[in-house]
């Protein structure tokens, strides 16, 4: 699983600096879906027993200390960034990153509207950020077939996961869910990866959580912020999600400014580095 090179140079800059602030470290890792997943995986599988799963980077940094997390991030991103450019063939890496960030930011904003406590909102961001993780290995390992799947979705005007199923006999939800299980991510995040295209099938206790992530995904596709190759979401699902979450479409539209603003801030934060 390569890390996204959109963020790698910033990760290296921040992690190599002896004076890095915990805030910057947290921020830079949390802007990279693969890196966030990997750091949580390493913490949960290598360090901690199943009972005490860590679901947010903030907690991980307090528990393990800034140096350990810095080393984790550095070794993960540097080792795996080397061949990333050419491996992103069907999906554009920058667009995929934008899409993932937008779903994360939107899910967190919806959680705020739903008055979910500040300290729990981070998990919505992480779930949104990671929701399409399953596309990365499909796209990297089978680039030709993935281009084909994207063309098929375009031609038939169907969601990409249906096209994936007809070509690979597996979709990014299943692959993402498998990665989440292997990485020992917690149940709500794992369910978000598995069920964000089939939110009615998820277990009752995670239904609201997954619905918020799925709605954030639908909304991001509607806004066309970045792209993860999904241009034809299912309309019926959108209506159902609005009902399930208990929010109006106009309230979502009001989020537009905030969401775009946050993405812009993330972009500036990452680009500052690439110059330096």
């Amino acid at each position: 699983m390569p890390s996204l090179s959109t963020t790698v140079s910033k990760v290296m800059e921040i992690c190599n600096s002896p004076t890095t602030s915990p805030n910057d470290l947290n921020r830079v890792i949390s802007l990279d879906p693969v890196l966030t997943g990997r750091v949580l995986q390493l913490i949960n599988s290598a360090y901690y027993s199943m009972v005490n799963r860590t679901t947010t980077l903030t907690r991980a940094i307090v528990m393990l200390g800034i140096n350990t997390v810095k080393n984790l991030a550095l070794s993960t991103s540097v080792l795996e960034s080397l061949s990333v450019k050419k491996s992103f063939q069907a999906l554009s890496m920058d667009n995929f990153w934008m899409h993932s960030i937008c779903v994360g930011v939107t899910a967190r904003s919806i959680a705020a509207i739903k008055r979910i406590p500040v300290t729990d909102r981070e998990e919505y961001f992480v779930a949104g950020l990671l929701h399409d993780l399953g596309k990365i290995p499909l796209n990297n390992l089978f680039p030709k077939e993935y281009v084909h799947a994207m063309e098929w979705a375009e031609l038939q005007q169907v969601p990409l996961y249906r096209a994936e199923n007809s070509i690979f006999e597996v979709d990014h939800c299943t692959v993402g869910g498998m990665i989440a299980e292997k990485w020992v991510l917690n149940e709500t995040i794992t369910d978000s990866l598995f069920y964000h295209h089939k939110p009615v099938e998820v277990r009752e206790k995670n239904r609201q959580f997954v619905a918020i992530v799925a709605l954030a995904n639908t909304y991001t596709n509607f806004l066309e912020v970045g792209s993860s190759g999904d241009r034809f979401p299912e309309d019926a699902q959108a209506t159902h999600l609005l009902e399930q979450v208990g929010i109006s479409w106009s309230a979502l539209l009001d989020l537009r400014e905030t969401v775009l603003d946050e993405i812009e801030k993330a972009r500036i934060f990452l680009q500052l580095t690439q110059k330096g």
């Binding site: 915990p22 805030n23 901690y48 027993s49 903030t58 940094i61 307090v62 800034i66 500040v118 300290t119």
Partner: protein, 305 residues
């Protein structure tokens, strides 16, 4: 249980005229159990050399030595005595060495046994006559057999570090070093441009939960050995983030957790006997300590639980 201190010093051995009373060897604790020949050693600092010599004279005549060494972490002052542990050179000795290792590092065998390579030492690990097994530990609860249970807990130190809680026949012996209180490391200044409300809140909550978990871990200990390398003033001046606690924090935590006896441990290498005596007067008088018996650990000290 019977506990004996073979090394109480932190960071580096510091023999000399100013450390005669409390001792200059780094961490090593011997733990024995009544009605059992089980021997557990915590940490292999320079103090383990003398313990090894004692075992050669007193345990070996009764048959081959079998012992378990629990390393709290792999910083040098906690493993440096291992090459000088004589039973390791004796045919028939069986050693089990437990400890935590960060994922990116080498195995426990390389980290600890790696001291026995020609560049550092004239004997290689492969040349040791004893049988050594290395076992990686995480946070968990273990049944060690013979009615002994062990609970481990991650502490706050710049490298993975475990506290150990041994329970045997209703008695609890607990170590919590090297550690300092968990902190909210995130920016809490609203005016700082990097301030983030969620991070600040969660950092605060995480630090509080983790400190609470450490206190649950040490709760009700009959003997608690706690990191007390600094005074609060020293700690706050420049040493936050170094992974050690102050005497004041150790005392407060032990009292909150209802520990019956607190041994303050991992003395700073610059701390002289006179200074420790002064601190004893200041912190360990009965009117100060309430129900908890508080003292500074001394090399050679034995405590029966």
């Amino acid at each position: 249980m019977k506990v004996k201190f073979w090394g109480v010093r932190g960071s580096i051995p510091c023999p000399g005229p100013y450390t005669i009373k409390y001792g200059g060897n780094t961490a090593c604790i011997e733990l024995r159990f009544e009605d059992s020949d089980r021997l557990i050693i915590i940490d292999a600092g320079s103090g383990i050399r003398e313990l090894g010599n004692y075992m050669m004279a007193n345990d070996l005549p009764n048959g081959p030595i079998k012992t378990e060494i629990f390393l709290t972490h792999t910083h040098w002052d906690h493993i440096m005595g291992f090459p000088f542990f004589k039973p390791g050179y004796v045919q028939g000795t069986k050693l089990k060495i437990y400890g935590p290792v960060s994922y990116e590092d080498d195995s426990l065998e390389n980290v600890v046994g790696g001291q026995l390579t020609y560049r550092y030492f004239p004997v290689r690990q492969a040349e040791l006559a004893s049988e050594i097994e290395y076992i990686n530990l995480k946070e968990n609860r273990f049944d060690l057999g013979e009615g002994i249970t062990l609970t481990t807990k991650y502490l706050n130190h710049p490298v993975l570090c475990l506290g150990y809680r041994f329970e045997y026949r209703d008695k609890v012996f607990c170590t919590a070093y090297d550690t300092e209180p968990f902190q909210n490391v995130f920016c809490t200044d609203h005016d700082d441009p990097s301030y983030n409300e969620a991070m600040a809140h969660e950092g605060d909550q995480a630090a509080r939960t983790e400190n609470q978990r450490v206190e649950e871990f040490i709760a009700g200990a009959d003997l608690l050995i706690y990191d007390a390398q600094y005074t609060q003033k020293e700690y706050e001046s420049t040493r936050i983030g170094w992974g050690h606690s102050s005497c004041e924090y150790a005392i407060a935590a032990a009292k909150r957790a209802g520990a019956k006896r607190l041994a303050m441990f991992h003395h700073d290498p610059v701390r002289t006997d006179d200074q420790i005596d002064e601190l004893t007067e200041k912190y360990c008088s009965r009117d100060h300590t309430g129900d908890t018996d508080i003292f500074f650990a001394r090399e050679g000290m034995e405590i029966e639980l």
